[in-house]
Each structure stands twice: as C-alpha cells, then as structure tokens.
Amino acid sequence: MGNTWHPLASMVVSASLVAVLAGVWIWTIGRLGLLNWWTALSCVCLVSPVQYENMISGFQTAFYAMMLAVAGGACVLALIHRLTRFLVVASLACVFVAAFSVASGLVLSLIFSVGLLLIALREAGSMRELVRSRHLVMNLGFALVGVVLIAWLFFANYRTLPVNRTSNVSLLAYFLTALSFPFVKSVVDTPLQIKVISSILIWGPVVAIIPVLLRNWRSVFEFRTLLLLSSIAAFVIGFIILITFGRSYLFISPRYGTVLVWSSMLGLLALAVGVRLMEAVRSRAVRRVAVLVCNIWVIALLSANVTAALASFDDMRRYAEWRLAMRDATLALLATSEAALEGDQKTGCVVS
C-alpha cells in the first residue's frame, strides 16, 4: 500500500478477522457438542450493525483483533484443557495481541492466568500435588514470566488517562446500560426497569449456568464449557467496568458493540449448555418444559437483537450527517490560505 492508507482495505481486514472468529467459535461449540439452531445463529450477532462505528472505520480493526484474541484464546483453552507448553504459548500470544490492540485487552492476562491455574489444579488433583508436579510448575512459571513481560512492555511510557469523576449513581447507570447493550443504548432516557429486564434477558442464563458448571468442574464437558463461557464473560464484564470508569457518557458508543455483542452470544451458549445438562434429568416432563423455556428465551433474545440491529440504522444516519458536517468544517478551515500554506509546508500534501 506504500504510504497510502486505504480505509476500505482496513474494513475488509476487519471483516476477515470476524470471519475467522466466527469459524473458530462455531468449530469450538461443534467440538463441545453444543451446536444447535441458536448457537449457529449466534454468528448473526457478530455482524450486527449495532457496532457500525467499527465496521465503517478502518482503523478500528484493533477491536476485532482484540476480540479474536479473547474469544479465540478462550476456544483454545476449552479445546486443549490440559496445561501443555503449546497452550501456554498460545495463551501468551493471545494476551499480547489483545493488550496491544486495545488497552482494555490487558484484562485478558489476568483471566487467562486464572484459567491456566484452574487447568493445572484440575490436572494435578489438588494444590499439594500441583506443587509437587515439576512439569506443571514449570509451565505455570513460564506463563507467569510471559504475562509479567507483556505487562511490563505495556506500561513502558504509559500515560494514565484521567479517571471519570462523575457520581457513583451515574457510573452505576452506565454499567447497567452497558450490561443491557444492545437493547438499551441511552444511559439517561431509558427507565431503570427496562435496563434491569434487558440485563436479566442477556446475562440471566450465564449467571445461572456458571455455578452449575463450577460444581461439576471435574467432569470434562463441564470444565471445557466453564473455561469457554467464564473466560469470555469475565472479559466482557471487565471491559464494561473499565469503560464505566474511563469512558462513561450519556450513551453507549457503538464502537463498544464489538465487545458487548458477546453478551448475547454467551447468553445463547449458556442456554444450549442448559439444554445439554437437562438431558441428565430423568423426568421427561421436566425436560420438555425446560427445553421449551430455553427456546422461548432464545427467540426473545434473538428478536431483541434483530430489533436493536434495525434500530441502529437511524443512529447511523445521524452519525453520517454529523461526520459530513465535520468534514465540511475541516475543509473550510483548511481552505483558508494560511492554513493551506501551513499544511503544505508541514505535511507536503495539498487538499484537493
């Protein structure tokens, strides 16, 4: 590309990253035996225009790279679920990509460290056995050194941004709105009840299923699903906390949509896990009712996502008008002879 930046080429790169992510996601849930009509449709969330700001801005490829590292890494953790040297290297590579794509990606280092420790604990059987196992301790030590090195590189010449100084109530309102994204986008105009109901609709299945998986974490299926579900969920929650303190405003910016669409995707996955776990229930009537409830929940979740996606076209129109006004104002400023001359001397290019 030489010295020319092509926004359209960057957009195609973003689309390619999402495509790879969709492939890895479907392959992983297929390997876990959780592929059904709604987990297959969860890919629709990945192309939802609620994240239009990232879709149309080439430089926002960083968000897609971060989510590929987060969700792709979680898939690798779930699929391998043994503390091999390859898993440690793959996890460190994902942490590196996530941290140097978007600053919030550094949260992944903490999540994957806990994930690797859980894998080692399960493999050893107990903490005492873990300490005795030279192979596991070596791999954990290698992971720790890698994470410390990445954090050290990250904080070299780091400039701290001012922390948001709004009231605690405003922060809580923003946090709740981000939890219920994409159904709710405005922090101030939406009643609290709507935010609470939307949050329950999205996060309810995840919150309900994680304790069940934790209780049976010695079983292979439960453990692999726990790694996949909880690591992505922890990242999304960590991201929401970070944007609440660092970026809270009157509405949730569409650029955060790339991360927040994962809330709905995790909800759909949790419902599929619920249906799978219900197979162990002896009563056929209970099983049927549970599957029916899950199907209704899925239809509500998917319909709400489609409605939110369609509603975002109006936001997009307003955003387009704003951008054109900004461009005209910039060109008008640069058109003045002093500004044009200054620009020509400084950058060596003329606005045509």
């Binding site: 689309a15 790879v20 969709a22 392959w27 592929l35 879709m55 950058t347 606005v351």
Partner: protein, 64 residues
Amino acid sequence: MRVSVLRIFSSDRLDNCVRYAALAGAFVFFFNALSLHLMLLTFRFGMNGHWRIRSGSICLARYP
C-alpha cells in the same frame, strides 16, 4: 490431480464441525462485506476516500 474446493468440502472425511465453521466464516465475511457496502452507499460518511500519510500526519488527499 485437480482438487476443487467443492470436492474437499463435500468429502466424507471432512469433519462436520470444520464444514459448519467454514460456512459460518463465509457467511460472516460476505454479510459483513455486503452490509459495509450498503452502509457506505446509503449513508455518505465522507470517509470512503483515500487518506495520505506523510511525516506522521494524516490529511485528506481525495474524497468522493
């Protein structure tokens, strides 16, 4: 030997998970590319030109 993508895709030896993953990837890529073009055609964001980068600063070199 001529090996086509379709032949590999319809092979019995291919894992179903790989087949679904490839379908999902293709769907997401084409849907994303299609919706991008629709968005850019429908809403004139003023950002589908080329930007030229010189000496660390960015300026608009051509815009539609």
